[in-house]
């Protein structure tokens, strides 16, 4: 039995960059199963919060506590960036890359990567250079690469920004599949429709503060804060 990684406790974390507070102070707890969606206008701190939780952005103040040490926790999470980082290699080698870093022999890494690539719909392009993929394919590749280590927690930063509905549907299907297999997903998005489709709970951020964190239905039907009401109505927030 592997020690559980969650809940994750964030205690008054604050991120300041060049004298400006871009996140926090913020305290929250990530637990349970399912998909949490971060919503909020640009600059509200969604990306910073994701990166801080993942541990690639260092908070100026505050505590981030997993149930295991931070180093162990890092190995059991993955992050999908808004603009996928594509290694100048074949699609197959891109997906296999995290396994290679963990010392898995090349052959077996490629076998696993090929299966996963097939599953996310990249079966036909596995041997191609990843640099020539379309935007949707690149994001699927990034997703497959994030999932290949079967992470306990998966962070995604607007993975479907700039994708058409078909690619978005494919990616959502992959995410739901990962969720069903027990991966805890935290994802930022601007897309209300996507939030309605995927979310179990919504974290609503504004100006670096967590304004509310409520189950999806409640958020969309009866948001508690005036700020969230205005955001959902489509008003431009200050």
């Amino acid at each position: 039995m592997v020690a559980p990684i969650l809940p994750l406790n964030l205690t008054s974390i604050e991120v300041r960059r060049s004298g400006r507070t871009i996140l926090g102070p913020l305290s929250h707890r990530l637990e349970g199963r399912g998909i949490s969606i971060l919503m909020g206008p640009n600059g509200s701190g969604k990306t910073t919060l994701l990166k801080t939780m993942h541990g690639i952005e260092r908070p100026t103040r505050g505590q981030i506590d997993w149930q295991i040490t931070a180093e162990e926790a890092r190995l059991r999470q993955a992050f999908v960036f808004q603009t996928p980082t594509i290694l100048r290699r074949s699609v197959l080698d891109n997906i296999a890359f995290p396994l290679l870093l963990r010392g898995v022999p090349r052959k077996s890494a490629q076998t696993t990567a090929a299966e996963l690539g097939e599953k996310v719909g990249l079966g036909k392009v596995l041997q191609q250079s990843a640099m020539v993929l379309s935007g949707g394919e690149k994001q699927k590749l990034a997703l497959a690469r994030a999932l290949i280590l079967a992470p306990d927690v998966l962070f995604l930063d607007e993975p479907c920004a700039n994708l058409d509905s078909r690619a978005t549907r494919d990616i959502e299907a992959i995410l739901c599949d990962a969720r069903d297999r027990g991966t805890r997903i935290v994802m930022a998005t601007h897309d209300h429709g996507q939030a309605r489709r995927l979310a179990d709970e919504i974290w609503f951020l504004h100006a670096g503060k967590l304004i509310e964190s409520t189950p999806k239905t409640q958020f969309f039907d009866a948001p508690q804060s005036a700020m969230a009401r205005a955001y959902l109505k489509g008003d431009l927030l200050p």
């Binding site: 992050f79 960036f81 980082t85 290694l87 100048r88 890359f97 870093l101 250079s129 640099m131």
Partner: protein, 234 residues
């Protein structure tokens, strides 16, 4: 112009006649420079990548010094190596002065800064691209460097070829430490200098054409083997 036609004719005669002296000189040129390029690449490419992924206090200064060393006058390098290897120098006991090994040492010193600097520039852009992913995947420092070297290999090849280009045409340093001894340390560039000094412009020019032709061949061969400059990207 007559001189040039004459030289071309003489070059052709030397090459197609497989003049044994020419073959020997050319092979020694290749041997010295290829060895120097390999050694300098083994030092310079990882160092260039290492300088990209490591943030340390004097990083800027180190990079500035390496960039400055690109302009190192070969004669000065030659003199320095000469002093080090001469009988009374610290490495005199090795008896390396006036051997091809001494020439290799001098060329390594001359081209390593070039290879470090060019590979550093190239790898830096790749690192900007890969940074977030490699950090997120918890790659170790060594893994980061190896990944950058592997995926930046084409740019690194250019760095190595730039080093080769500088070394193959270099004369000042190897003249001093090699001594241009016939059948021992005479290479194309030192032979050209000698023939020019003797007034044998035709032969000197002919050797020059051989040198240029060889440099082109080496570049073509390397690109051919590594399949660069083929696909539309990378």
């Amino acid at each position: 112009m007559d001189k040039i036609w004459e030289a071309l004719y003489q070059a052709a005669r030397l090459i197609f006649g497989f003049d044994p002296d020419l073959v020997e000189i050319t092979l020694l040129s290749l041997q010295v420079t290829v060895t120097a390029t390999l050694i300098a690449s083994a030092i310079g490419l990882p160092l260039g990548a290492w300088l990209v992924v490591n943030r340390f206090r004097y990083r800027r200064i180190v990079i500035a010094i390496i960039n400055a060393l690109m302009g190192l006058p070969p004669v000065v390098v030659g003199l320095f190596v000469y002093i080090m290897l001469s009988r009374s120098g610290p490495f005199g006991v090795l008896g390396l002065l006036f051997t091809p090994t001494a020439m290799i040492i001098a060329q390594v010193i001359i081209i390593t800064p070039i290879i470090v600097s060019i590979s550093h520039q190239a790898i830096r852009e790749l690192w900007a691209d890969y940074h977030d992913l490699l950090i997120s995947l918890n790659a170790t420092r060594l893994q980061r460097v190896m990944t950058l070297i592997k995926d930046g290999r084409r740019a690194l090849l250019t760095a190595a070829l730039a080093g080769f280009g500088r070394a193959i045409g270099e004369v000042g340093a190897i003249m001093i430490v090699g001594g241009n001894i016939d059948h021992v340390t005479r290479v194309l560039t030192t032979a050209i200098a000698l023939e020019t000094g003797k007034g044998e412009f035709g032969l000197a020019l002919a050797l020059g054409f051989v040198l240029i032709g060889m440099a082109i061949l080496v570049n073509l061969a390397v690109h051919g083997l590594s399949r660069t400059e083929r696909g539309s990207r990378w």
